[in-house]
Symmetry: C2
């Protein structure tokens, strides 16, 4: 089959032939129609993940056909019995297991969910990993309620946008931050109330002048700015952390304990959360934001776009048949 | 009445005459037999609290007699309807309301709980604020279960010791840190499994060699060492923060989100938690650790002992009749 092959950290990916996977017991071969990029794919090509195996096929997000059924793939395997955290056997599709940046991918039969009918192949491929992480962050960790005020930092990323979209569908008032005025403008078209540019030195003052007392803040930056997030929370509110692009997070213990604030780390989610997320997306007819569609043969440009943080929404691959 | 009077930030406290309070509707005058010091009392004398009013009487913890009944006082008033966080009207006895470092204190009648019969006056006075904060931290925030492994940092402080004692009574395995080898020795006599000296540069390595995968960590330090606490937690575990003596806390977002760890700020507790704590202490016959007993007239030496962090347990005042 044709695939986007990863040969070594730091090297360009190569589009070419790759051995067809052979299904074992309980496994199925999905004929992919679209796949989507995640930061983890970029981090792996930069050698930032342990246990890298090459040559291999990256990609956690995919949508395609199995036996004529239109499916999306749950990228997580082996979560285990405790919904609070994944077992040691948990792994995400696309390193070390070959992933979705190929014409076909091998998965357990129980990793398939029906593609929501209102989504194109590209939109469906944009959903799994970001939707799962966002769903667990908002509903399991933050226990989001209708009418609450939510802040999502770094809008533009796939998880951040999906978080904003799920929160809006749940009846929340959503605010955002971004480092780009253009992304803030685009976010407003999705129904977001407003936002500020975190590159402004006084962004937190600007935001406080517009909205206070956030019930839920969803962050993937960390860094020194994290201390401001604690101050932007209402008493009893919470911050959910699913990433840390700016490094070590800092906060004032006093601001946390006087105001009874919680910080929850989250990543991916359970099989139940995956199915609940797909059902929620279908019920509310949520359409993931697709930033751009690349052909697999143009994979290196897609990876570069994500590495530069230029995207607004998911970077998707159309898979040649 | 006689009282330990606070006249101005930075000035020595004065033991002397102070106007007797006059009860209004729903208020009662408790004849105090003992009171106990908290860090907040010391911080207030250093001018570190807002809205300081002088002259005044400090003190949040007290035990005494009302109408022949032996009582301890719930130091918090006006928590409000939401158990998740206190209302804006919440206040703690002893600034701005006159507190327990006096022969008599005025409180609402509904602030009284029966003194657990197994406790002396000094032990009973040592219980309220520390017991309440520790109870909410362990049972409401961390949802501690029997058999879990708990780490309490800075053992020696009143809340830390009470946290360790409540956790032991709940069937947990308890570990501690301290800056003093002597305090570590004394802690072991309480039933604690072990501990390490946080002044050792490699304390977290020492601790990891002894015990791993803490279910619950209760911290009042913050600072750079906080990042180690996140690494010491088991996946899905939590850190409860009730103080921040070492200033800004830092942590790695990656260590938080990969391992699904939560951080909860907590301070004081609801009326229900106060009663539940008193019942738990009575049922398990827990005896708060009393570091030392001072007479009220020797108040400045008691404050200095706490300011220097010399204590192991609560610093208590015996009240002259």
């Amino acid at each position: 089959m044709k695939a986007l092959v990863y040969n070594a950290p730091g090297e360009a990916l190569q589009f070419g032939d790759y051995p067809d996977p052979a299904p074992g017991d309980g496994e199925v071969l999905v004929q992919l129609r679209a796949a989507a990029l995640n930061h983890r794919d970029v981090f792996i090509t930069q050698g930032l993940y342990p246990n890298i195996r090459t040559p291999s096929v990256l990609g956690s997000d995919g949508a395609g056909l199995y036996n004529g059924r239109e499916v999306i793939i749950n990228p997580g395997t082996g979560w285990g019995d405790n919904p609070a955290y994944p077992s040691r056997n948990y792994q995400v599709l696309g390193m070390p297991i070959d992933g979705t940046f190929a014409q076909r991918v091998l998965v357990s039969a129980d990793r398939l969910a029906s593609k929501p009918a209102h989504l194109s192949w590209e939109q469906a491929a944009a959903l799994p990993l970001g939707g799962l992480t966002a769903y667990r962050a908002l509903f399991t960790k933050a226990r989001l309620q209708s009418g609450q005020r939510v802040l999502v930092t770094g809008i533009g990323g796939g998880v951040a946008l999906m978080t904003a979209q799920l929160a809006l569908a749940a009846g929340a008032e959503v605010w955002v931050t971004s480092g780009s005025a253009e992304k803030l403008q685009r976010a407003k078209k999705l129904g977001i109330t407003g936002g500020v540019n975190y590159r402004d030195a006084d962004w937190q003052k600007q935001l406080s002048a517009l909205a206070v007392d956030f019930d839920v803040i969803v962050d993937s930056a960390g860094g020194e700015a994290f201390a401001h997030l604690v101050r932007l929370c209402r008493p009893g509110g919470c911050i959910v952390v699913y990433g840390g692009g700016k490094g070590l997070a800092t906060f004032s213990p006093q601001h946390l304990f006087w105001r009874q604030i919680s910080i929850h780390g989250t990543s991916m989610g359970t099989d139940q959360e995956f199915q609940d997320m797909v059902d929620f997306v279908a019920q509310h007819r949520i359409t993931p934001v697709v930033d751009s569609v690349y052909s697999l043969s143009d994979g290196n440009n897609a990876f570069q776009r994500m590495d530069r943080g230029l995207q607004f929404g998911k970077i998707v691959f159309s898979i040649p048949q």
